[in-house]
């Protein structure tokens, strides 16, 4: 799963090596576009991309948010049908990501396409590569990975200063949010994504890191093969979470707990600590992750 550290370091070294190679006098001078260089994405794929990409796009709504944070927005060529943030993105032409509108995407001729693990199938990525469009995957397990992702984007889009500004300000904001030491013991929080069957945010999702920074802990400690495992009512009774995120108390009372009245015994229901969190903030690993932590913290401290 993880990139070994030397691979990550190599990834930073590669552009330098490529730069040295490009300086060789016998190399033919590149045309009006860009020099190319080799990079390696978070999944370890080796890609050849222009040093100064002029047309980019993202195949995931979170990645569109990442691009808007770092890129020169005029270089963002399009968005997908589900990309709706920031508002400026809505003015970009739409390329359907599911099913992938390969023809329109190719017609758009992006220099590089960004996506996140799980949002674009390897088959689609393979097809795009064959058609000469490099697909750069990012993968995030912790908030720090998102910051690193922003920094990587800055380097890839030749906007390191902008990326640094964004990351620095996000870091500062996160430090401010997490400055107070939360009261112990940390409440155990179960975040529900679907009611029937019951799917939740598993241990190996970004939520685990976010809720920890917000002063709680993911109630799901066991590591399942799926990031969003299906749980039984019995399993949830045994977890007995202190807080449930998935909808306001009133809404959950009339839906979720109506469907599964046995679960009314859990602490979260008895203490009415059942909250609604903004879907996009919960689901998208984007620069708004810090806003998501802030929201979670507000929920946990509300009485």
């Amino acid at each position: 799963m993880f990139c070994p550290p030397f691979v990550r370091r190599l990834r930073f070294a590669l552009p330098v090596l490529a730069l040295l190679a490009a300086c060789q006098p016998d190399k033919p001078a590149t045309t009006e576009t860009d020099a190319l260089h080799q990079v390696r994405d978070d999944l370890g794929h080796q890609l050849t991309v222009p040093r100064h990409p002029r047309r980019v796009m993202a195949l995931a709504p979170s990645m569109t948010e990442m691009l808007y944070a770092v890129a020169d927005t005029s270089t963002i060529a399009a968005r997908t049908q589900v990309c709706d943030y920031p508002a400026a993105a809505l003015r970009k032409p739409i390329i359907n990501s599911y099913p992938l509108d390969l023809e329109r995407l190719v017609a758009l001729k992006p220099d590089i396409v960004f996506t996140t693990e799980g949002m674009t199938t390897p088959a689609d990525a393979q097809r795009l590569q064959e058609l000469g469009i490099p697909v750069y995957y990012q993968r995030y397990q912790k908030i720090e990975d998102i910051f690193r992702g922003l920094t990587d984007l800055g380097r890839l889009l030749d906007r390191p200063a902008q990326a640094k500004r964004v990351v620095d300000s996000l870091r500062a904001e996160l430090v401010r949010i997490t400055a107070q030491v939360p009261p112990q013991p940390l409440p155990r929080v179960l975040a529900i994504t679907w009611t029937d069957p019951i799917y939740v945010y598993g241990q190996n999702t970004l939520f685990t890191n976010k809720i920890l920074l917000a002063g709680g802990q993911n109630a799901v400690v066991e590591k399942f093969a799926q990031p969003y495992p299906a749980l039984t009512r019995e399993y949830i009774l045994k977890l007995n979470p202190d807080v449930i995120i998935g909808g306001s108390f009133g809404k959950m009372d009339s839906t979720f707990f109506r469907l599964y009245p046995e679960l009314k015994r859990i602490n979260a229901y008895r203490n009415r600590r059942v909250y609604d969190a903004t879907d996009d903030l919960m689901a998208r690993p984007s620069p708004r992750v810090v806003a998501s932590v802030r929201e979670l913290k507000q929920l946990l401290t509300s009485k």
Binding site: W194, D196, P197, L231, T232, E234, Y235, L237, T255, R265
Partner: protein
Amino acid sequence: MHRSALPWILACLLLLLGLLVVGLRVGSYETDFALLGRTLLHYNPQDPAQLVLVELRLPRLLLALLAGAALALSGYLMQIMVNNPLADPYLLGMASGGALGASVTFAFVPVLVVGGFYLPPLAALVGALGTTLVVVIIGSRRGRIVPAQLLLAGVAVGSLTTALGGLLTFLAATEEKLRTITFWALGGFERASWAVLPYPAAAVGLGLLAVLLLRNNLNLLLLGEERATALGLPVARTRWLLLLIASGLTGTVVALCGPVGFVGLVVPHITRWLLGAVGRGNLVFCALLGGTFLVFCDLLARLLYPPAGLPVGLVTALFGVPFFVYLLRKQGT
């Protein structure tokens, strides 16, 4: 050729009892025999482990039992009705119809609980019965069911509802919705509770009672339409009755558990192999064996993929098909 069903029924009951005891012990909570005993003698709902036993595990086992019984019985009746060993409870498009009904609610209805009533099972029931109605209209002529026509209508309409369901699946962009629709296509018992059990219990009870009363007519129908008519059987009316009973049984299961596959095809065959085509205990044994088989499959599903379990329809096929093939080959020699 009659063989006594009693030993088989007793053996099956014993097996079922064993499975129920094991089934009560499988789950997230540790529940030893001492706890089972305590729960049996002095049920204390304040103890979460006891609550889980009584409110979650037991209804789940009973739902699997009733669903299996209903599907096996339904399959048995369908096979007699069309006089075709390939018939199963989903002959009339109930599986894809039910899945389509449920998918429609997941795709288009924003609020799934209305006035405390959970819509998807109702929609699945409407989808299943609606599809059946269409198939029956196409598959009957002047008030008589024409088996060959009914079979073809079932295949055709089933393909159509499958395609419509596929369209909804394709358009349902979120992963969670996809998984829900998968659940509705393969079946499971996770939503079991005491509140839903009366429906399948009533369906199985009434269905069994009705077919026991019709038993002699069933055996006559097996002789083929001409000979059955010659022997004075009102063939058309018997077929309609069978269709009604089988549809009621299947519809109930589809609404509550999704279209659990295979059990309704294989269990009637096993019943006939063991007890003969017209055995006296066939109907009771078929229902009992179907229930036992599904309890076993659900147990296996939970053991293989804790905590939620694999969709039970996968397990019935994965473990039922090899067994079925084995029997088929053995039968042939």
